[in-house]
């Protein structure tokens, strides 16, 4: 229980921490193309972990009645789309690694992840009126956007 409260109260800092660490890990190896696959794989995992964090934060916000059930449903539906897109991207990275998929194909698959992140922000987070709820969920979408940036940088698609 204590851990749950601590997690909820620190969700903004955690999401920001993820953002900075993702940025730092990418900046450590500029121009290094040999680990493109690993960077993409790590970003895919970071996105899946961020989705899990978004679910936990949404549950807390709903429990506090800072968002409505209708808003929670919209967020869930978009998170499901994002989760499916991330799973497909992870499979794409695997295929890319095995030489069964080219970089252009992987970039095309990743466009689905990017679109879902934008939907989460535009159709989900920005529609929330409570400022605390909006701030907490915005921090997660910011982290997701950074993870997307890491993938784009690794693949040279930005």
């Amino acid at each position: 229980m204590r851990l749950r409260i601590q997690r909820a109260s620190s969700s903004v800092a955690l999401a920001c921490g993820i953002s900075v660490l993702l940025a730092a890990s990418s900046a450590l190896f500029p121009g290094c193309t040999s680990d493109q696959v690993k960077k993409a794989a790590q970003a895919a995992q970071d996105i899946s972990v961020s989705i899990n964090l978004a679910i936990e934060v949404k549950r807390d916000l709903l429990g506090q009645k800072l968002i409505t059930n209708q808003q929670a449903v919209v967020i869930d539906q978009i998170l499901l789309e994002l989760n499916s897109a991330d799973r497909e991207f992870a499979k794409g990275v695997d295929a890319f690694k095995a030489g069964k998929l080219g970089k252009a194909g992987l970039i095309k698959i990743f466009a689905g992840v990017n679109a879902a992140i934008q939907d989460l922000n535009n159709k989900g987070v920005l529609q929330i009126t409570d400022p605390k709820a909006k701030a907490e969920l915005s921090s997660i979408t910011a982290g997701l956007a950074v993870a997307a940036g890491v993938v784009q940088a690794a693949l040279g698609s930005s």
Partner: protein, 77 residues
């Protein structure tokens, strides 16, 4: 925090978020450990773990959706 023309604007991002990261230092430290742990993992392992996490996310989201829609229907009665 839109990506710059040449990629993500990491400097602006870090500058903007630094105070919040300081506030959450213990949790950030855990994330550092996690990422450092990941650095030693093979891509195959990371991708397999991602698949497991995605499956867990799906299960949680489907359960949440059912509960939330039930609450909406209950409230409409």
């Amino acid at each position: 925090m839109a990506p710059a023309a040449g990629g993500t604007d990491y400097v602006a991002l870090i500058t903007a978020l630094a105070p919040l990261v300081t506030a959450g230092a213990p949790i950030v430290a855990q994330m550092v450990n996690q990422i450092q742990g990941q650095s030693g993992k093979a891509a195959d392992t990371i991708l397999a773990e991602t698949g497991v996490q995605c499956d867990a996310n799906d299960a949680k989201l489907i359960a949440d959706l059912a509960a939330e829609q039930k609450a909406i229907e209950g409230g409409a009665k």
